[in-house]
Amino acid sequence: MDDDVSTPGAPTPILRVTGLSKSFFGVPVLQDASLELFPGEVHGLVGENGAGKSTLMKLLAGVYVRDAGRVELDGEPVEFTHPVQAHQAGLSTVFQEFNLLPERTVAQNIYLGREPRKGLLVDRRAMNQATADLLEELGITSIRPTASVSSLSVAQQQIVEIAKAVSYDARIISMDEPTAALAGPEVDLLYGIIDRLRTRGTAILYVSHRLKEIFDLCDTITVLKDGRIVTSSPASGLDDASLVRAMVGRPISAFFPGALPGTTVGDPLLQISGGGNDQLDDVDLVLRAGEIVGVAGLQGSGRTELVEAVFGAAGFTRGTMTLGNASYRPRSPRDAIRHRIALITEDRKAQGLSLNQSILDNALGVVRSVYPRRTAAARREAPGVFSSLEVVARDLDQEVQFLSGGNQQKVVLAKWLAIDPQVVLLDEPTRGIDVGAKVAVYSLMRRLAQEGKAILMVSSELPEVLGMSDRVIVMRDGRIAGEMPPTASEEQVLQLATGARGVSP
């Protein structure tokens, strides 16, 4: 139908996407995205968090319905409203979250909902045999079809996910960060699987943050930024540096408030020396009063584990900590709170708030349970705190589940301000909140620093880490890989976070 676009004789794309757009609540997350996918091609999709990669994949998979644009499969326009339709049309997706039932076997998972039958009964032998054949075809011999998924390693589960996608006779498989959970040899295994799929003529859409993989595997690379495709070209024409620049090359706006007048970096408040547990090792860190220290690193590098260790949620089993002049060894979060340490957790809804309770009850949550005698005072101060944080709500009795993400985060902050913390740990404090709320969080951090509190902020957003911190510590594989001044470039931080060489700005 639209084949007149392609040159005669050139291979026809198996998938053609034109002008795909999607907004959530009026916020465009993907705008006018177009790409083509050819049989046997591995097409890399890269971009920062929130660039629109996952949205694009979910639109193709039928998880989201597009606002505008056109998707053609073999030249036929398609419109999927449910992932099963996409599967049946030959487009399978391996999502980041596993879609497996841990208590069922590999074969039962792969053939869930379409088990081969003999008469009315499931033909278990045929199902196991088909699974074994499928795994063998992918070059996997280490997974038994009858093994329960919960007994498999994360890497093996990932392979089962891919096998499940392949089992639908998929001609297109999109993979969202398939190596995120994999270590070295397992990544090689995945490379092998992708090679086999490529030779079968399967087209692969490959999302990854790991540039090495992108260059190792992909024929074509598309870069997304802020919901738009910035480049789409053969991998041979790109190198690390040009790709990184295409992804992060954005001006750091005057978005980050500077230190407030009178802020002075004082004496060491919290000192960790040789801290370690089963996720961290050899952590040496000094936090000073009035200082904001940023923590950068890849997901899984131990950033959250670090703040959890200081907060006593999963404490250090090695090393020592001192708080002020006294030894500090928190046995529990409660213990840490008694030492006036606050942790604004990464997952606001699961760990930060009691969603169906009121704003006031949430704000008094910590005080009530740990400093009950301060409750009345905190209740009197609450309206002032909320107006200083500019919380937009009907009244303090409103349930927090009805607030926007930014206002919810302000409630979390108010909850911790009520204990007048001396050390404030923030884990992804601006995730999923709007710009206005972000600025409010930044301003509050500056105010706390001015008051002489020590602040440790974990963030995945490099501009934020560099824009707000006095010092940036970079974590890698459970250790502190190094420290950088806020004048460092994003590329330099990335280099340290990944242990990469050769990415120069």
């Binding site: 090495k212 992108i214 547990n277 090792d281 899984g300 976070a497």
Partner: protein, 358 residues
């Protein structure tokens, strides 16, 4: 390779109970393995067995059924009432009683699957409705089971009562359904993770409705069996037995996860057997009935605590937990992590856990 599953534990506990029973019953000068005693124990398994089979399915799909006691009573009354001491009426009466029970299950399933009311509430409500109907319609026992029907409750093959054989036959059918049909697989899938099941193309309502229908029908069978034993139908026979909570306890004791998605019918039967044996031993020993409940309660809580302990999943450790540091060797660069691209973040919680340094 063959790790100890909860089903193994259940039967291990059953074995311990048998040994304890042999010794304890022996101290009173009686024989735990006498034909009479075995028959007593097996009789004790039959009624609870029916309910627990159905309850296993309902719990597997992530629901609960608290209406079973009232379905039992209603079925006994419908059955005995229509039989009215006429042998010719046995078949239609039994079929009608089962149909009524199945319809109650259908209503339960429709409310749970269709209106998304949790099974606890849906079946609590249904139980109250049926209970109210029973209370307002029947003043006491009613109907009359003919002799031919009463024989079902009284005869046996050797020491094995016919009622137990019927229960085991039902268990066998349900076992085949659960393990070797798409419906059974779908029940596990829906109870385990409904979104995953839906994403895999499973119709997520059917298994829930089917489980409720089967559960209620089983309760209806139990009601008929009680009518055969008593010779009449009774509006209180179900609630007197406390079969709702006891059957849930048997299912959980059998290793089925109360949250659904994991469990086995064979384990449930083990749980039922343990309860029947405990009852029997304590009756022989003439234990105070309140103390019986204490013992049952302890068994349930201990069993579930044991399962919970075994299920605690641990994140793989990156470093040793020990107090000594694993040397000051440089950290190995993350394999495959070199030249990594974008902002140091990924969306989910599964992380690149690289090897543990030597």
């Amino acid at each position: 390779m063959n790790r100890l599953t909860s089903t193994h534990i259940v039967y291990l506990v059953a074995l311990v109970t048998i040994i304890a029973g042999t010794v304890l019953v022996g101290t009173t000068g009686r024989n735990f393995f006498s034909a009479g005693n075995i028959s007593d124990i097996l009789t004790g398994t039959s009624i609870l067995g029916f309910i627990a089979i159905g309850q296993t399915l309902v719990i597997l799909v992530g629901s609960l059924d608290l209406s079973v006691p009232y379905v039992i009573s209603l079925s006994s009354l419908v059955g005995a009432g229509i039989m009215a001491n006429q042998a010719g009426n046995i078949l239609p009466a039994a079929l009608l009683a089962l149909l009524v029970s199945a319809l109650i299950g259908l209503a339960n399933g429709a409310v749970v699957a269709g209106l998304k009311v949790h099974g606890f509430i849906a079946t609590l409500g249904m139980g109250l409705i049926v209970s109210g109907y029973l209370g307002s319609t029947y003043q006491g026992s009613a109907g009359q089971a003919p002799l031919a029907f009463r024989l079902i409750g009284a005869t046996g093959i050797g020491p094995v009562p016919v009622s137990t054989l019927i229960m085991l036959a039902c268990a066998a059918v349900v076992l085949v359904m659960l393990n070797t049909t798409r419906l059974g697989h779908a029940m596990y899938a829906v109870g385990g993770d409904a979104p995953v099941a839906r994403m895999s193309g499973v119709r997520t309502r059917t298994p829930v409705i089917a489980a409720h229908v089967i559960c209620s029908t089983m309760a209806g069978l139990a009601g008929l069996l009680l009518a055969a034993r008593l010779g009449v139908g009774s509006p209180t026979i179900g609630s007197q037995g406390g079969y709702d909570l006891l059957s849930i306890a048997a299912v959980v004791l059998g290793g089925t996860l109360l949250a659904g998605g994991k469990g086995s019918l064979v384990g449930t039967l083990g749980g039922v057997l343990i309860f029947a044996m405990l009852d029997n031993i304590m009756s022989v020993l003439q234990v105070n009935p309140f103390l019986k409940d204490v013992v049952r309660g302890i068994v349930i809580v201990v069993a579930v605590a044991v399962y919970a302990r075994r299920r605690t999943a641990q994140r793989p450790a990156r470093f040793g937990r020990g107090p000594t540091r694993p040397g000051d060797t440089a950290p190995p660069p993350g394999p495959g992590a070199s030249r990594q691209g974008n902002g140091p973040a990924r969306g989910d919680g599964t992380d690149a856990r690289n090897e543990v340094p030597a």
